[in-house]
């Protein structure tokens, strides 16, 4: 019974938290640019407006992929917040991403095509870092289960500083923020129009937005795992990381995909793998 309560409350609360974070993000960004900015609840108004719009498509089956994208993002979140296997939830997240990419391919539009390819580059860039951190967590706690990782007594970040830093580095990809907002971004400085979401509109675009809110909670939850031994410190750290992402977003311009992959892999191989090797030899 308890588990169903968790699932239902996650499904209800996650988009609220995610949307709120998105609103706060816009507000802070505006302040950084000396603007007043929209109200904090603006993301919700945007989505409500989108829901009322006409549903335009290029290919009749393109939206099905987005349903499954949303579906599997929620599924990932449920796995994550019920304390299941961490690797499995990341695989579920990848599955969701693949549905998104395939949807963009399906539209047969050059701009979404380019966006889809860049989305793939982004997945290539961030996945090694995430998997390496999971391995690090396993080495420290002896379990892939999130519930065990959270219950571990000492803060993981003491053992995994390199991995934690690496995850913060690649986080901009998952937040779709500069300098790694290659496949689409929230701002109108696009040489590829709206990238991967170019041909999605109305209700479907709203679904993508909501999926993104769900994703926020999973990513921030992942960061939280590094600090989980102390919940207060954990939540504080997550908020700091979130703020840091907004700051980076406003300071840096977008980079090319080559640099994205190269730098992310470099960080993964140095900070991430280096951390693992050191840990391996200490344990031995």
């Amino acid at each position: 019974m308890n588990i169903f309560l968790i699932i239902i409350s996650y499904i209800v609360c996650a988009p609220l938290i995610g949307g709120l974070l998105a609103g706060v993000d816009r507000k802070i960004t505006a302040r950084m640019q000396s603007r007043v900015g929209p109200p904090v609840l603006q993301p919700f108004f945007d989505v409500l407006k989108l829901l009322l719009k006409e549903n335009l498509v290029v290919r009749r089956s393109q939206n099905f992929y987005i349903w499954f994208y949303l579906f599997f993002i929620v599924f990932t979140g449920v796995l994550f917040f019920t304390g299941e296997d961490l690797l499995l939830s990341i695989f579920a997240l990848t599955l969701a991403e693949i549905f998104f990419v395939l949807g963009a391919y399906k539209t047969s539009s050059p701009y979404s095509f380019l966006g889809a390819q860049r989305e793939l580059f982004q997945i290539m860039a961030y996945e090694p870092m995430i998997l390496l951190s999971i391995i690090g967590m396993y080495m420290v706690t002896g379990s892939f289960y999130i519930i065990d990782i959270v219950r571990f007594q000492k803060p993981l970040v003491f053992f995994l500083p390199g991995l934690c830093a690496g995850v913060v580095y690649i986080l901009a990809i998952k937040f779709r923020k500069s300098p790694f907002d290659l496949s689409m971004s929230h701002h109108a400085h696009q040489e590829l129009v709206r990238g991967i979401t170019t041909e999605f509109s109305g209700r479907t675009l709203a679904m993508i937005e909501v999926a993104h809110w769900y994703e926020y909670t999973v990513i921030l939850g992942f960061v939280y795992l590094f600090f989980a031994s102390n919940p207060v410190a954990g939540i504080m750290s997550v908020l700091v990381v979130f703020f840091l992402q907004i700051l980076i977003d406003n300071v840096f311009a977008r980079v090319k995909w080559q640099l994205t992959i190269q730098s992310c892999w470099l960080v993964a191989l140095t900070a991430g793998l280096g951390n693992l090797i050191v840990l391996y030899f200490i344990r031995k």
């Binding site: 599924f75 690797l87 579920a92 095509f113 997945i123 996945e127």
Partner: protein
């Protein structure tokens, strides 16, 4: 007992019938009937062996060993002649050396050699028999329709030699059954050499200059393996006094390492690992069913079978670690090369090499977790790869190209084939399908052994994801006029395609059962312990599988509540909707092409790098094992 002999004998008998038969209708029936019998016998074997751990058979038949020796020498003479004829003296030299070793072994020890059991069957053998029997015979049935179209429609210039073709296919299957059921290593060596010769003849089938060249190359590579194999038998007999597989494995870590490393080397050549990988990519010149057979159910599996058999010996040994690294390097490099390829068969070939690399990695590490993961990999890979090759074969015939970029709109023109193709691809890399489950298992096994090794699978895995998704996406893109290209596909092609698709799905649903009834007992028998995926994760996987399967349901809603518009083309849309107003008002058709990253990843250079690295590793492996 009878079942194994049946499995080895029936394809052989059928093969000779087919060789001398000229009637086409009768040939079709024999192929169909033999495949059916082989399938049934495999399943029967599974049923009878289900509750038994291991069964031995002493197949005493007067003069069988001498008959084998005669056949062996005759084959060797043939290869020797081939080598001379094509001025490939390395081939002749290798085979001469092999025969000398073989004959002197027979001469020196032959009379004193006591072999208790020539054949045996345990859970691992049963798994392999199922793979060879079911997938192999499905491919044989597929070849019926495919080769008819091949000769009568698409390649009239190539000499129709179908009787010989089916002869080779069935001899191949028979030899594969022999390999996986042999307890006597000399027998295994005999069957091993038959697969080498069969693969040579199959690759050469088209008789063009290119196919002869590639076939000779494959032959050369595999002869290196054969030489290592016979040398290993020599050394094993000298150091342990037995050439029986079960006894050697029972010895475990006690037996000399060098001969086992030699067997591992033989496995590397047969499984087309670097530095030998080029023979498998060269083998793509053969008709597609041959590629399907070599890649999924037979040839390459023989190598990894041997390596996994001796995994217990490699465990915690430096030489085993080196072998594992060779597999890891092969996985990584082959995955990245696959990104650069736009030839569908080449992509599949590199993906095969990569995935077998993972199995070798598992075998080299040799922990019980790794062996469990390795066997899973073989099963899932065989099914999905067989399906992929058959689909690509059909597509090549219908669109006259196997370039991935020419495959756009396949979802409209060949909906069923393209869905099967996508299913096969999903089976290769996507959760919750087969290969991902096993990659996950490999990852866990690696992390428990040495987490640093996980780097291979992590980075190789991202490359895998990239090249599969971009291909999958290409199939979905719709441009051009809808045509129906699926009309003339015969029943003998539909049946294997459907069968393999169902197997791809079914094995994902059934894999907990396969694991608990087949793989775990085997691993437990060797190591005393075994692992299984936790119940909770299996449930989650099943839920995911169920959810993904719901995807076709969304098509109930096809075209409802949506307004169809043209894609955004920078405001310059023209008619038809997939073209735009280009410079000077010229109507230009829109075109998209996937990234192949050829500026960053150079096939030749990566290959050279891999070959050199793996050669060094092999040298190290031998030096380490000799010490």
């Amino acid at each position: 007992m009878n079942c194994i002999v049946f499995l080895i004998a029936i394809p052989c008998v059928a093969a000779f019938l087919l060789l001398f038969l000229r009637c086409r209708v009768l040939r079709g029936w024999i192929v169909f009937l033999t495949s059916f019998l082989v399938c049934c016998a495999s399943i029967f074997l599974l049923v009878t062996q289900f509750h038994r751990e291991i069964s031995y058979f002493d197949f005493v038949f007067p003069g069988i060993s001498s008959a084998m020796a005669v056949i062996k020498v005759a084959l060797a003479a043939y290869i020797f002649f081939i080598g001379i004829k094509h001025k490939k003296f390395v081939i002749s030299g290798l085979i001469a050396l092999q025969v000398i070793l073989f004959l002197s072994f027979e001469y020196t020890y032959g009379h004193a050699l006591v072999v208790e059991h020539n054949l045996f069957i345990d859970k691992f053998s049963v798994i392999m028999v199922m793979i060879v029997g079911i997938i192999g015979s499905l491919i044989a049935v597929f070849s019926l329709g495919y080769m008819r179209d091949f000769h009568e429609q698409y390649h009239k210039e190539i000499k129709d030699n179908r009787g010989f073709f089916f002869f080779l296919i069935f001899v191949f299957l028979s030899a594969m059954f022999g390999i996986v059921c042999s307890n006597n290593l000399l027998w295994m060596y005999f069957f091993w050499e038959i697969t080498t010769v069969c693969s040579f003849l199959l690759i050469r089938y088209k008789q063009t200059e290119e196919s002869v060249r590639n076939a000779l190359f494959a032959l050369k590579m595999n002869l290196f393996g054969g030489l290592a194999f016979i040398a290993a038998i020599w050394l094993l007999y000298q150091s342990t006094g037995t050439i029986e597989l079960d006894k050697l494995i029972l010895h475990g870590g006690g037996i000399a390492l060098l001969p086992v490393v030699l067997l591992g080397f033989a496995g590397l050549t047969k499984s087309a690992q670097m530095p030998f990988s080029s023979w498998l990519t060269g083998a793509m010149v053969a008709p597609t069913p041959v590629s399907a057979l070599l890649h999924s159910s037979t040839m390459v599996n023989a190598g990894v079978y041997l390596i996994l058999r001796f995994a217990g010996v490699f465990q915690v040994k430096l030489a085993g670690f080196m072998l594992g690294i060779i597999g890891g390097v092969t996985f990584l490099i082959a995955s990245f090369i696959a990104i650069t390829q736009s030839d569908a068969k080449k992509v599949l070939a590199y993906s095969t090499i990569a995935n077998l690399g993972l199995v070798v990695l598992c075998g080299g590490i040799g922990t019980y977790e790794a062996v469990w993961a390795g066997i899973l990999l073989i099963i899932f890979h065989a099914i999905a790869k067989g399906l992929l090759f058959l689909c690509v074969g059909i597509i090549e015939h219908k669109i006259h190209s196997r370039d991935i970029e020419d495959m756009s709109g396949l979802i409209i023109t060949m909906p069923k084939i393209s869905i099967m193709l996508q299913l096969g691809m999903a089976g290769m890399f996507l959760a919750p399908f087969g290969m991902l489950i096993s990659k996950w298992a490999v990852l866990k096994a690696l992390v428990d052994f040495n987490p640093v090794l996980a780097v291979f699978i992590i980075f190789g895995g991202t490359a895998t994801l990239f090249f599969w998704v971009k291909w999958m996406g290409r199939l979905l893109i719709v441009s051009g006029e809808p045509r129906d290209l699926e009309k003339n596909i015969s029943l003998s092609e539909w049946v294997p395609l459907t069968g393999l698709s169902l197997l791809t799905l079914g094995i994902c649903a059934l894999f907990p059962v396969v694991s608990s009834t087949m793989i775990e007992p085997y691993v437990k028998e060797i190591y005393g312990v075994s692992i299984a995926m936790s119940r909770g994760n299996i449930v989650i996987m099943s839920i995911m599988l169920g959810l993904v399967m719901l995807f076709p349901l969304s098509f109930i809603n096809y075209g409802k509540n949506v307004k169809v518009v043209d894609a955004y083309l920078g405001g310059g849309n023209a008619s038809p909707g997939t073209s735009f107003l280009g410079p000077a008002g010229k109507i230009t058709a829109m075109e998209t092409r996937n990234y192949y990253l050829v500026d960053y990843l150079n096939e030749k250079r990566l290959l050279e790098f891999g070959v050199v690295l793996c050669l060094v590793l092999i040298a190290c492996m031998f030096i380490v094992s000799y010490w």
